[in-house]
């Protein structure tokens, strides 16, 4: 300790300042690792999101138990799957900033002199990872409960593309919005009120290719590529806007 101080003083006398600033990527990795470690210890977010997804599936069971034909379920499946993802991500996004706020972690992060957008990227990535894990569990479950008797289209594995693109956009916008709503009264409702309309174009552009691929009707690839182009464009624009505006939101 004493030696360190003396070397620092020596350097200051010599007109040098020794500062080792970690690279932006290192900061990003640290922040992301913090979120993931917290999750691995408590498993709070994944369990609550997973159980919530399962419960929504059970509610669907009550609704879809009335349909007689498997083809009806196929037509509905894209939309139902996306409704499941939207509700589950709402739950996850609500929680993602609650810890930070309750345990005063956000103040600590904000004290570090670094680019604020790194916080956005790290937080969005961790939200994206949690959502993807939940989807990996929920989609097979959805198939298990409702689609085992139905005959999906030939290219139904392409479903992964709209799921991935949609989840990226949701994680991006959701991170910005949950940062906003964590400081408001009635934050859960507030997040839903802001999140659902802003996510809607993306939802629309992702649900239609999902349905098209699952049903596999004639010319489904045309619908697929067109909608995916729209969804991708919306993703890029929204992520850029959120990334730019995040600085203001987190500093306010």
């Amino acid at each position: 300790m004493a030696r360190k101080q003396s070397t620092g003083a020596d350097r200051a006398r010599a007109g040098q300042v020794a500062l080792s600033v970690p690279s932006t990527f290192a900061q990003y990795k640290t922040l992301l690792a913090k979120d993931l470690q917290q999750e691995f210890r408590t498993k709070e977010m994944l369990t609550s999101m997973g159980i919530y997804a399962l419960l929504v599936l059970i509610v669907y069971g009550a609704a879809l138990g009335q349909t007689a034909q498997a083809t009806d379920v196929l037509q509905l499946s894209g939309g139902l799957l996306w409704a499941l993802i939207v509700f589950t991500s709402l739950l996850g996004l609500n929680r993602s900033f609650n810890h930070e706020k309750e345990q005063g972690c956000m103040e600590g992060i904000l004290l570090v002199p670094m680019d604020r957008s790194v916080i956005f990227l790290a937080k969005a990535t961790s939200n994206l990872l949690f959502l993807l894990v939940v989807e990996v569990i929920a989609v097979p479950l959805f198939w298990f409960f409702f689609l085992t008797t139905a005959q999906p289209g030939p290219g139904f594995m392409l479903m992964a593309v709209p799921l991935a693109v949609g989840t990226v956009g949701m994680a991006g916008i959701g991170t910005l919005l949950s940062t906003i709503t964590v400081n408001t009264r009635g934050k859960d409702v507030m997040l839903a009120v802001l999140f659902v309309p802003l996510i809607f174009p993306l939802l629309y552009a992702c649900a239609s290719p999902t349905t098209a691929v699952v049903v596999g009707a004639e010319g489904y690839l045309d619908v697929f590529t067109q909608s995916m182009a729209l969804a991708g464009g919306y993703d890029v624009i929204m992520l850029l806007v959120s990334w730019v505006l995040y600085d203001f939101v987190i500093s306010a």
């Binding site: 910005l176 906003i180 507030m190 802001l194 802003l198 809607f200 629309y204 505006l245 939101v249």
Partner: protein, 258 residues
């Protein structure tokens, strides 16, 4: 506009002098547009009938649609709502750049104006739709994106009500106003992006004839002026309230000091 630092929230620049005249001109022009829509612009042809009849020196073989007269206010009102949203976005950017409370008020009032005109668009569109399509609502791309736009504008005010600190409220609201702007081009372009939509598109249906174009232009000019006058009036009123609040705070300080 003055650049000197002011203690109280200021108000009353040149737009306040223009606003009454804008209101007058707006009322005159939109009334003129209303009359032109019914008396000057030609009727629009609907489905063909079997038979031809001579009306006013012209051969008519289609049903004449009166319901199309709603269009002369429906489209300008929608354009004014987009315009107000664009201004709200502009003032929000200015607010984020300067943190001047004045721009926050500007953005808020712009959003109110856009909400009023969005509701007007919804009402006129919905009644036309009820008559022509026979349904109150259909999940058609243009209608859906516009509904989403309305929900975002409403969410903007819900968010403002849920935050107590004025500074933070301004920043968050500005961010939402800027994000809301992303939906405006989508809503505008959606009938081109998804050509299967049932919503009529003027350009796709061969453009407007001269008399129709003239009527729409007059209505648009009138409603833009009305929108501007409403904005300025409301802005003046809200600004006055803020000045009063600042004065009250000062008087309280004086009372305490005594």
């Amino acid at each position: 506009m003055t650049n000197k630092p002011v203690k109280l929230p200021e108000a009353g620049q040149w737009p306040d002098k223009v606003a009454p005249w804008a209101l007058l001109a707006g009322i005159v022009l939109s009334t003129l547009g209303f009359l032109m829509a019914f008396l000057y612009a030609g009727p629009v042809n609907g489905a063909a009938v079997d038979g031809v009849e001579l009306i006013g020196g012209q051969m008519v073989a289609n049903k004449l649609l009166l319901s199309q007269k709603i269009f002369y206010f429906h489209m300008p009102v929608a354009l004014v709502s987009f315009c107000a949203l664009a201004f709200a976005c502009y003032y929000s950017v200015r607010f984020l750049a300067t943190k001047n409370q004045r721009f926050d008020t500007c953005a808020k009032v712009c959003m109110e104006i856009s909400l009023v005109f969005v509701i007007c668009t919804m009402i006129t569109g919905d009644l036309w739709e009820r008559f022509e399509w026979g349904v109150w609502w259909t999940w058609e791309p243009r209608l859906t994106t516009y509904l989403i736009l309305m929900l975002i504008v409403i969410a903007y005010f819900v968010l403002r009500n849920a935050i107590d600190e004025p500074e933070r409220c301004g920043v968050y609201a500005a961010v939402i106003a800027i994000i809301a702007m992303v939906d405006v081009p989508i809503c505008f372009m959606i009938t081109r992006l998804i050509p299967s939509s049932v919503h009529p598109v003027v350009l796709r249906e061969g453009g407007m004839s001269g008399d129709m174009g003239m009527t729409v232009a007059v209505c648009l000019a009138g409603l833009l002026l009305v929108g501007f006058a409403l904005y300025r009036f409301r802005f003046r009123q809200v600004r006055l309230q803020e000045r009063l609040q600042a004065l009250k705070d000062e008087v309280e300080v004086l009372e305490e000091r005594r």
